[in-house]
Symmetry: C2
Subunit: 116 residues, 2 copies
DNA sequence: GCGATAGTTGAACATATGATCAATAATATG
DNA sequence: CATATTATTGATCATATGTTCAACTATCGC
């Protein structure tokens, strides 16, 4: 109501806007953790490959051009985030996607990339 | 054709599968950079806030509970990635989203998060 | 059981990243 | 012009992250 307040105070924070926004704001933690997992070229490549087919670690490593050890480290992270699952067959371990949502996220992201 | 090859060689890489996959594999660099930008709680909060409204740095900092300086650093990154744009009005700088795709990515990600 | 292959793990290292602080620029007000 | 407010920038620091290497486990064929 009073313009005086506006002129004598340092341009006040928009307390109302801030409070309302904070009330609406969703939990970020989980989504951040998913983005962190996807924010690496090796892991993103792995996820893309797994979105097409099932892969053993050996072939996966060759396809993304890194060592088996490094691939395994990344797969561990992906498993911990429940984005992939593994299945043992003889000496080999086969990995596949374990989250329907990931494919949608990948699609959305790469669709996005085509426009840039 | 020859099974002998299979038994005397170390289980060979599936060269065909690997080559085909590599040919199909999209450029990861850009998408990785977008995920990197979104893989931080402060920046993700900022993006979420901007997806709803336009904000000045001052209010934005209060809303995400960090310093103006830190907020500004993050906004610089977001600007460099062309995800947000700024508009100066007097002493203030107002930020808003500059990429239609980001909203879709955010939606997809938070939709995802509800199921986990 | 032995040797070879597939995969996992932990340690070590270099680099990347995010927060803070102090200094600076730009704009508005008196 | 002096002062206050808003925002940006650069330096510094602690921590997080990705890769490599060597050691280890598990499984297969002989």
């Amino acid at each position: 109501m009073s313009d005086d307040l506006d002129t004598c105070l340092p341009h006040a924070l928009d307390e109302d806007k801030i409070r309302k926004a904070q009330e609406m704001m969703p939990e970020m933690e989980y989504v951040v953790s998913i983005f962190k997992v996807m924010a690496d070229e090796t892991r993103l490549s792995i996820l893309w490959l797994l979105s097409v087919d099932e892969w053993c670690v050996h072939d996966l490593a060759a396809a993304v051009k890194t060592s088996v050890s490094n691939t395994s480290h990344h797969l561990r992270l992906l498993r911990a985030s429940r984005l992939v699952r593994s299945r043992k067959e003889g000496q080999r371990v086969f990995y596949s996607l374990d989250d329907e949502h990931v494919t949608r996220l990948l699609d959305e992201a790469f669709k996005h990339s085509k426009h840039n």
